[in-house]
């Protein structure tokens, strides 16, 4: 299915257009920030800037296509798809709703990573570590979206997906944490269970990809997975009632 999706994408001219547009806008922001950094207007290293934009790009893509909306639609009208499928609910949601969005986004992430490798801004071992962190964040995003979708259905509140999208995009694309937090608060923020923009946010705060990132990620991965697992199990019986 995923290869089929990639094949379909490659045959669709609109796909190339969206990818080129995405690449241009992302490149523009990277160049702008690098320029601002050169002018000493931004206190970030070049590595921080490049990784920051590579990581937020995939989230932007997911927010734009709001995974929560897709999952909510699957859990509501398509309840037969997941209740009667021999596959597990997670597999159905992951394969049918999450992966297609991610697949759309893969070429640009891939290109960005190639750029990082060829420009040598990050050693290979750090790059692998970075990719692993990205993968973990995406898993967290998936589990968090499952939780969001369940609450959207329970509350009959489509505003939830809008709020998540809005908060996520604002949080990702701005310096908000740095503006409102300083000193000890900043250090404390590093240990907060991360939300969507965990890596990008922390990349703005730390000069290096250190152990604090992985601790935060795993704490939040555990919380998001456990919560979504319990809620989903309850949701299955709830829709049968």
């Amino acid at each position: 299915m995923i290869f089929a999706k990639i094949k379909n994408n490659l045959l669709d001219p609109a796909y190339y257009f969206s990818q080129i547009l995405g690449l241009l806008s992302s490149s523009f922001l990277i160049i702008l920030w690098l320029y601002l950094s050169k002018l000493k207007l931004v206190q970030l290293s070049n590595i921080q800037i490049i990784l920051y934009f590579i990581s937020i790009y995939s989230y932007f893509y997911l927010f734009t296509y709001s995974l929560i909306d897709r999952l909510a639609a699957r859990l509501a009208t398509g309840s037969q798809s997941f209740l009667l499928s021999p596959k597990s609910v997670y597999t159905t949601l992951f394969v049918k709703d999450y992966l297609p969005i991610l697949v759309d986004n893969i070429p640009l992430i891939f290109l960005s990573l190639l750029l990082v490798i060829f420009t040598g801004v990050l050693p290979l071992n750090k790059l692998i570590y970075f990719i692993f962190l990205q993968f973990t964040v995406h898993l967290i995003y998936f589990f968090t979206s499952v939780i969001g979708a369940i609450f959207q259905l329970l509350l009959n509140w489509g505003f939830i997906s809008f709020s998540f999208r809005f908060i996520g995009q604002t949080w990702n694309g701005s310096y908000i944490p740095l503006i409102f937090l300083s000193g000890g608060f900043l250090s404390f923020a590093l240990f907060l269970p991360i939300f969507y923009s965990g890596i990008p946010f922390q990349l703005l705060l730390v000069q290096d990809l250190d152990y604090r990132l992985i601790i935060n990620l795993f704490v939040f991965l555990f919380i998001s997975f456990t919560m979504s697992y319990l809620l989903l199990a309850r949701f299955k019986t709830h829709v049968q009632e």
Partner: protein, 315 residues
């Protein structure tokens, strides 16, 4: 074998507060009046059963309970040895549910790839080696549709391929809820061919619900009519039609206006047609009197349509 006894289903309000209360067990929520009330029936293997009734009668609720999508408020359902709402993996593999108007293929992915994916999930041979699926595709004349994405197909075309997608794992129980919704007569004919092939090749139990009553009568071995959540009729289509069609109409195509004045009360003339309303018992007598009264060159004897037969049970 499907065994249903004392089945009742009450829904709950779907507002935010009620949802949260129920979800987190925060208090009692008053249920709505029962959608299905104390129904019982047994369906032996290999039968095709049509479940009919007016809107809101409880047909879809019954099908949802039979497939495990809903949990009965009280009563018991056994499909073979399985209780549907427990959603045992073997139970899930043995059934197919197709609901007209509820897409089961995803947009953006070519139909053929989605069919292959499903075959893989159900551990069936791939499309190229799957004679059963290939034959269904041939019968439904949908080969040319497989290389499209679902959103590019017409409503009827999409409907057909989604139906195929739902039955390609050789299910033992097939549940069809409004399966012919939006199909034109050609598509309905192909659909019926597929159903006949399924009956022949898989010997499945088919539960069918539709508002197109003639289609249900054509396809079913037995009809269960539900209204206000209870079973009103449960018999073979032949028996129901025979026991309920006492009325007949004799239509004569007149060649002159002779005999069209002072006509009996059961006769209505709209020249050149004269219509005599009669019953099965008086048919011979009324044909005889019509022949004597009118000069005509054509005669038709009609019985009420299936829709007319069932209308009285829908009230």
């Amino acid at each position: 074998m499907i065994k249903v006894s004392g089945l009742t289903k009450k829904y709950y309000p779907q507002d935010t507060l009620s949802n949260l209360k129920r979800f987190f067990n925060l208090g009692q929520v008053a249920s709505l009046p029962p959608a299905v009330h104390n129904i019982s029936f047994t369906i032996a293997g290999n039968q095709t059963v049509g479940i009919i009734g007016p809107n809101g009668a409880g047909k879809t609720t019954t099908i949802k309970m039979l497939t495990g999508l809903l949990r009965p408020t009280s009563g018991e359902i056994l499909v073979d040895q399985y209780t549907p709402f427990e959603l045992n993996i073997n139970f899930k593999k043995s059934l197919a549910l197709f609901r007209g108007g509820y897409p089961n293929l995803d947009d953006g992915v070519i139909v053929r790839d989605q069919l292959e994916d499903r075959l893989n999930v159900y551990q069936q041979p791939v499309l190229a080696k799957n004679l059963y699926v290939k034959h269904i595709i041939r019968l439904s004349q949908s080969l040319s549709l497989l290389d499209s994405v679902p959103e590019n197909l017409s409503q009827g075309q999409r409907h057909l391929v989604e139906f195929i997608a739902s039955i390609l794992h050789r299910p033992k129980y097939i549940f069809l809820d409004e399966p012919m919704l939006g199909l034109d007569i050609l598509a309905i004919s192909r659909f019926k061919k597929v159903i006949k092939y399924l009956k022949m090749s898989l010997n499945p139990t088919i539960i069918l619900t539709s508002h197109i009553l003639q289609q249900v009568v054509d396809l079913s071995d037995r009809i269960i009519l539900i209204n206000h959540g209870v079973i009103v009729l449960d018999d073979t289509p032949d028996n129901i039609i025979r026991q309920n069609t006492f009325d007949r109409q004799i239509k004569l195509h007149l060649v002159s206006r002779q005999g069209t004045t002072d006509i009996p009360s059961n006769t209505y003339v709209k020249y050149p047609w004269a219509t005599i309303k009669t019953t099965k018992q008086s048919l011979e007598k009324d044909i005889d009197s019509g022949m004597k009264r009118f000069q005509f060159d054509d005669i038709r004897i009609t019985e009420p349509s299936v829709d007319q037969i069932f209308t009285k049970y829908y009230k």
